[in-house]
Symmetry: C2
Subunit: 264 residues, 2 copies
């Protein structure tokens, strides 16, 4: 009887890109654990900046991992997108009702979505028509306070579970680093146009003196005045939700080019 009840719970698959040991994934699990049957398949180390990368040139290692009671977990060598694939095609015997990724340490607003392993995993879920949500907290510190983020992660998870979506809706949720009472609410947003202006810091190898470089940079918002963007929402104290598509087609440009297609 207990088994039947258990099976009727929604299956929630969780991953992240900061690795299975990160505080963010623990807080996410804590926030949603009672909402379904939780499975974790997550990287065994930090995989930040991996975007939607998959591992083709190396074999993948996955092992059961003791995360906590009532949560079945695996850790492995793959990227966040690999973790979703491995979970769907090798571990789980039914399709998850929901995929959650995070809670990421650091923002995935604006163009950061393109570099984000957290969102790469969520987008991978969406490709398989599974509703998928990436959560990110606007604070990089390993021991950040996830109280506010956890509350919103739970609320948004409940909402999406209720939708019973089968189209593979994908959401990029970013949460300001603030107390719950200082959050103004939730705003549905489009992705702000922006870019990273990079600075490659040059250093020299201690033995052979050859130069190497660290990628660092500053984010530049190309439209700081636009009030419908995620950057604006976050700067003004809102939780931002960006609905995400995996269709990269630029339809506006397609229309413009179609007129002159003979020229190609």
């Amino acid at each position: 009887m207990e088994e039947v009840v258990k099976d009727s719970k929604p299956l929630i698959l969780i991953t992240n890109d900061d690795g299975i040991f990160a505080k963010g994934i623990k807080e996410l699990v804590k926030s949603v654990k009672d909402l379904g049957e939780v499975w974790i398949v997550a990287p065994d180390k930090a995989q930040s900046g991996k975007g939607h990368a998959v591992t083709l040139d190396t074999p993948l290692w996955y092992r059961p991992y003791k995360f906590e009671e009532d949560v079945r977990a695996f850790k492995g060598s793959g990227t966040p997108a690999d973790c979703i694939k491995f979970a769907l095609f090798r571990i789980l015997d039914r399709k998850p009702d929901l995929i959650l990724s995070g809670i990421n340490h650091g923002s995935n607003s604006s163009v950061n979505i393109l570099y984000s392993g957290t969102m790469g995993a969520a987008m991978e879920g969406s490709l398989h028509k599974i509703p998928s949500i990436g959560f990110s907290l606007l604070n990089f510190f390993p021991d950040s306070d996830f109280t506010t983020a956890g509350l919103y992660a739970r609320q948004i998870t409940q909402k999406v579970l209720k939708m019973q979506d089968s189209s593979g809706i994908c959401l990029n949720v970013n949460i300001p680093y603030n107390d719950p009472e200082n959050i103004k609410g939730i705003k549905l947003c489009r992705q702000s146009a922006g870019e990273w202006r990079e600075f490659f810091e040059e250093r020299f190898h201690p033995s052979n003196r050859r130069p190497y470089y660290w990628l660092t940079g500053s984010y530049y918002n190309q439209e700081p005045q636009a009030e419908d963007t995620d950057e604006w929402a976050l700067a003004n104290g809102y939780v931002s939700i960006q609905p995400v598509t995996c269709d990269c087609t630029d339809y506006k440009t397609m229309e413009k080019l179609q007129i002159g297609v003979e020229g190609f």
Copy 2:
């Protein structure tokens, strides 16, 4: 005097994801070399499947590389997107007029764009408002015949140079593996909806007998009948051009959710 003429030529930055030693990048350079001042910054090894990943957790190594006469080249340890960043912010002293990526060994149509290092590099260029084109040939073999691909790469490059675009137009060009006379033409296309259904092949380490897995799978087209997609164009003998955006916002879903936003 010679210097002045040289400087007035458009600056064309080239990278790829199969590595600087691959046949595809050599053929691309050959095809467009006389159209501008060509610089290459490319990975020192294959970087397939790396998507838009960037390298944050390891230092990057870049070195000048003797590619061929009249072409200044660097190879390095970074992903294709890293290569573009390194070229723009560390090597070049002016903004390129065009970024080319490829010619990739294998298709980047449909959802493959999300996993593609070739297209990650092109999208990175587009973020900095530089027109960027990724070229891919529908053949995986290292010694593929790139004659047809080279012809189309040249034709499309010339066309885009003429546009003098400053908005950062981005194109995903896929070329069937066929003789020029058997190509039906060029089609502007949207990205076909699809997914990879994965098979993780299990093997065992020769010494410790622990299992590891190779990611393999089959592509499944979710809309084989749709004649406006890249998959259809390629299956029917056309070169496909997909205009690409870096804005991942799903505007249709945003509209639907906006109505019920109170619920969040």
